[in-house]
Amino acid sequence: MIKVQEEDFDIGAELAALSAGDTSIGAVASFTGLVRDMAPIEGESHNIRTMTLEHYPGMTEKKLAEIEAEANERWPLAASLIIHRYGTLAPGDRIVFVACASAHRQAAFDACQFLIDWLKTEAPFWKLEETDGGGVWVDARESDDQAAARWNKANDTST
């Protein structure tokens, strides 16, 4: 399931709903992304006041659904969930939540990591940080590209 929303979410309720009614599920893994309170700008650390997430309505849902479908093709998942917020958030606020349920833990762990790694490089979201040093668009990180690239099938030695 895909949810792109401005409002916050309840992790406990989302996790309970994910596995409700399916007793074949033996494992649920999840990842939660939060707004950090510090950001480096040109080598100096700055306090973050707010973070505003912009996205491309329509394409966002489409790309997230594709990423979720890919995870379900690669791993035997009983259920999966991606929640991504947009709008203006404060340090400590939840940004993103991914969760995967499966019979066994390895598929749940791996699929969960795949979802967040791919989402970071594929889903059309952009972060603007308002800091005590001004407003700065967050730059894409090479480490995120590398994290996503290790899930490319050609490089995948785990299966």
Partner: protein
């Protein structure tokens, strides 16, 4: 054609979206950008680092040699930073 701009592309062009009639000389994303750059400083500033900009035609990522047509929706934006 509908063109959308996001993040600092939106700030530099001063537009979140616009409707244009595609000139006959424009056949690809690259030639569209060439034409947009003739329309003002904001556009030239937005497209200055063309190699880092991502393009999507009808909500699919494309390379800049991808063809474009008047009925397409095209979006320009910096590398994505969600998650």
């Amino acid at each position: 054609m509908k063109i959308l701009y996001f993040a600092w592309m939106r700030q530099r062009t001063g537009l979140s979206h616009e409707e244009i009639d595609l000139p006959e000389t424009v056949t690809t994303v690259d030639t569209l950008v060439d034409w947009l750059e003739t329309r003002g400083d904001g556009y030239r500033d937005a497209f200055a680092k063309r190699e880092v900009i991502r393009a999507a035609v009808n909500q699919e990522y494309v390379q800049f040699d991808h063809p474009v047509a008047n009925e397409d929706e095209i979006a320009f934006f910096p590398p994505v930073t969600g998650g």
